[in-house]
């Protein structure tokens, strides 16, 4: 099946330096691809190229099979785009803005009214539909931008930081909305909120200094944390020294380290579940003086920091197989 979004070696140079270098990826229907990276890594620049706002220095992108360079209008008709910061004409009302976008997109007749209503409902901006956008709160402005992107029910959605500036409840609503639409569309979102990636995305692309440094599922990324699956035990101080050699011998244990009042047992990669079972079994059998035991999950911020600060050259990526659509 043809991917709905396809970036091919997208490169953008500003004054000789590459802001984005050889970025290639594809998004299929049913996928939510999370674009993750520090500020200035090239997320927005890449999105601007895919939506036809910026011409790439090299490479190209395709939306629903239409080349953004040679079939710009056809590609733009099939995508909805929320630019960074959700810019909107401040003197217009949300209704006015949606009417304008509907006019440009050539929505007419009964469909036009239906689509405007649907977009207002989906983005929950009905309460402020006749207020000038300038007077709206940040959260409402963001949602007006979202309504504009959804207006023509596009196959492809490109959302640059869709939940930035929203309160936790609004974030939840926007995520729910994106999740509801996910099955029918190909969605590309950029964010630097790590929890969002876990909550929303079927695949993650980590970008740093203009290049892709990882392309995998969020769960896969978590596994890159050296402490992913580590078993942490809180042990009575007097018994700690005697326990350490025993933990070394537990099948599946890689290293054992003391940290404050806790003992951390790192697993041999791939044997995380195994390790926990073995530790608890030994604990019960020998009646260790342990007050607390838990298994740690990988932390995305650790992985994120490692990927975006250490990698000078792109590391080999583990491509997740595209989900069946």
């Amino acid at each position: 099946m043809v991917p709905m979004i396809e970036a091919q070696a997208l490169t953008k140079s500003f004054g000789g330096t590459d802001a984005v270098r050889d970025v290639s990826f594809s998004v299929h229907k049913g996928e939510v691809l999370g674009f993750l990276g520090p500020n200035g890594a090239g997320k927005s620049t890449t999105m601007k190229m895919i939506t036809g706002f910026l011409a790439p220095t090299r490479g190209t992108a395709r939306v629903c099979g239409y080349d953004i360079l040679t079939q710009t209008r056809a590609a733009q008709r099939r995508l909805g785009y929320l630019p960074e910061g959700a810019p909107a004409y401040g003197d217009m009302t949300p209704f006015g803005l949606l009417s304008f976008v509907a006019d440009v997109r050539g929505l007419g007749g009964a469909n036009r009214k239906k689509r405007i209503e649907a977009a207002l409902d989906a983005a929950q901006v009905r309460a402020v539909v006749h207020q000038p956008i300038d007077t709206l709160s940040k959260g409402f402005k963001r949602r007006v931008g979202l309504a504009q992107a959804l207006l023509h029910d596009p196959d492809v959605l490109i959302l640059d930081e869709p939940t930035d500036g929203l309160d936790p409840n609004q974030k939840h609503d926007v995520r729910t909305l994106i999740r509801e639409m996910a099955a029918e569309k190909a969605i590309l979102i950029s964010t630097h909120i790590l929890e969002e990636v876990e909550a929303l995305c079927s695949r993650t692309l980590v970008i740093a200094r203009g290049s892709i440094v990882a392309d995998s599922t969020p769960a896969d990324l978590l596994r890159r944390d050296p402490l992913h699956g580590a078993v942490v035990l809180a042990v009575v101080p007097a018994a700690r020294a005697a326990l350490l050699p025993k933990l070394h011998l537990i099948p599946g244990a890689l290293t054992v380290a003391e940290e404050g009042a806790e003992v951390i047992v790192r697993p041999v990669p791939g044997r995380e579940a195994d390790l926990l079972a073995n530790v608890t079994q030994a604990m019960r059998a020998e009646n260790w003086p342990v007050t607390e035991v838990y298994q740690q999950r990988g932390r995305l911020d650790v992985v994120f920091r490692t990927l975006t600060t250490t990698a000078r050259a792109p590391v080999p990526t583990t491509n997740a197989p595209p989900r069946a659509a």
Binding site: G52, F53, R73, Q76, V104
Partner: protein
């Protein structure tokens, strides 16, 4: 052209959504009529025509039109809406034309609202309506040329004040090149052909031709090519500089 019309509609609505439209129209009418009656000696001339009105129009447009055109693109760039606009399925040309036509239509409304002057002269005497119509056409073309220049200057910057100053300067140059101040400076030493060329470049000269009541293709062509030329330049600048 449907997308261009959508842009046109949006722009017109945005003029009237803020006090801009009302302030502009009121100032334009107050200045235009007071210049006509006080400085133009409308009554003292004792002639049933609108020369007094049209003579001052280029100088009035010189600072009012840049005020109208300065926001055309600078504002889009500053607020980031240019990204929203240009990722919609429309050609840059459509956006340029839509915006320009909206500002031009707005100028035309201002001109139209001065029609009580026509009533005044027809009450006072029997004016030559042909001359008035040709002069009005000249004024319309002049404002169009200024707006096209203003649109290009506005596309150059995200700062509206800079856009205003640039537009006023360029418009002043093409207006003043026909005044005796400039032609006089050339007349003493340059061959007549050069003086003719400089003066032929002037918006004032062509406007004066139309004010005599003769609609000459050359004058219309002059303004037409200014408008089209500067709109093409606008589209080029918008396309090249949109990301900055």
């Amino acid at each position: 052209m449907a997308p261009a019309f959508a842009v046109f509609k949006r722009e017109i609505a945005s003029y009237f959504a803020t006090p801009l439209a009302y302030v502009f129209l009121v100032i334009f009418l107050v200045l235009a009529t007071s210049l006509t009656f006080y400085m133009g000696s409308f009554f003292e001339r004792g002639q049933a025509d609108l020369q007094a009105f049209f003579n001052f129009l280029p100088w009035l447009y010189l600072f009012l039109v840049p005020a109208l055109s300065m926001r055309l693109w600078a504002d889009e760039r500053k607020s980031g809406t240019i990204e929203l606009l240009l990722t919609l399925p429309l050609a840059v040309g459509h956006a340029v034309v839509g915006k320009f036509l909206a500002s031009w239509a707005f100028c035309a409304v201002g001109l139209l609202l001065a029609f009580p002057l026509v009533i005044a002269v027809s009450v006072l005497g029997t004016p030559d309506y042909g001359v008035i119509i040709a002069s009005a056409l000249g004024a319309l073309l002049l404002s169009g040329a200024f707006l096209a220049i203003g649109s290009a200057m506005s596309a150059l910057t995200r700062n509206q004040v800079i856009a205003f100053v640039l537009t006023a300067t360029v418009c002043f140059l093409i207006t003043a090149s026909g005044t005796s101040l400039v032609t006089g400076a050339f007349a003493n030493w340059a061959p007549t052909a050069v003086v003719e060329f400089v003066s032929g470049f002037s918006a004032l000269t062509h406007f004066a031709n139309l004010q005599r009541g003769i609609i000459d293709a050359r004058d219309v062509l002059y303004f037409g090519s200014l408008i089209i030329g500067f709109l093409l330049i606008t589209a080029l600048i918008v396309d090249l500089k949109k990301a900055e």
